[in-house]
Subunit: 171 residues, 2 copies
DNA sequence: GGGCTCATGTAAGTGGTTACATGATTAT
DNA sequence: ATAATCATGTAACCACTTACATGAGCCC
């Protein structure tokens, strides 16, 4: 029963507590997004698949508002998540970075144009860094350790790229 | 005439000289791959589209061996590449990192299991770092500056992640 | 009344990978 | 002889994004 990585994002979020698809998406946007994004177009169909496979179960909650279905892990889903977390095998890693791509081909550009490009790349990463700093309180308030550590990594990671751009700009 | 990023990879590679689809793929694998990968399934159809759009032109070379078609940039293709290199707008940036994802959900794991996970992540990045170091001579022999700079970034980047893993492992 | 957040979904499209089919030339 | 490399391409599939449709409740 080959699950996609995004399926594990959902299982992981559900282990932290019963949640709706909407809540999962909101959580992803303030946590895993910078190293694993997910859209509604993935989440809702995946919830359906996971439910059909018996890894999660949804419960209708008529809270007066619009109908909502909150999901929780079944024993089977809990086991599947653990299996994935502790399994060996290669860890998928992929980077797509248009800035580096442009820089790679930048030899024919003028010095000014190259500096401008570096500034643009740095700007993007500064922006992401600020976004990550903004969600720090949320992560720290969760009571969990790992999300904070990963977030700190994210901030340090953006810092690293920002510094590298600055250094190159000065040359 | 919206071009995909991968189309620009092709245009960029062709500006460096006339090349076949096979050669482009080989070049990508020893240069842009770690921040922008491309497969034959993308390259050959994209070459066709670019030719139809008049951005590149192919010339059959009957070199005795199997029929091969080497492509070069047209003026139009050259201009399109320059436009992209100097245009403003947001730079697409995306990371997918299964290791960080697992780490994010690792609170329920034992200390040993978490350390094992960190070691696995570090191992992957050490492996990529060695691959990048191995292609250093190729980049340096190209006579171009930018590819070397970007490669050095790649190595430093892998180093950064390796160090971060080591630090966490010791805790 | 208007805009925001909560909430659920789907359809169309994009971008990309994997696996396959084919075959000549070159190196061991 | 046989394995690796050069070389071209396609079909099926997968993962993901974007845009849309719908609508209730809540705050100003």
């Amino acid at each position: 029963m080959q699950l996609s990585k995004t399926a594990y994002v959902i299982l992981g979020m559900l282990r932290m507590g019963k949640r709706t698809g909407y809540e999962i998406k909101s959580l992803v946007d303030v946590s895993t997004r910078f190293f694993w994004a997910a859209s509604y177009g993935q989440i809702y169909p995946e919830l359906k698949r996971l439910e059909d496979a018996g890894l999660i179960e949804g419960e209708a909650e008529a809270t007066g508002g619009r109908a909502r279905r909150a999901f929780s892990l079944t024993k089977k889903g809990d086991a599947a998540l653990d299996d994935w977390l502790t399994s060996g095998g290669p860890l998928h890693f992929e980077l797509r970075h248009e800035g580096l791509l442009r820089l790679f081909f930048s030899d024919p550009l003028s010095g000014g144009e190259r500096t401008e490009l570096l500034r643009a790349i740095r700007g993007e990463h500064e922006r992401v860094r600020e976004e990550l700093r903004a969600i720090r309180p949320t992560a720290e308030g969760s009571g969990l350790e790992a999300p904070v550590e990963v977030l700190e990594f994210g901030i340090a990671y953006q810092d690293f790229i920002v510094d590298w751009c600055s250094r190159l700009e000065r040359r």
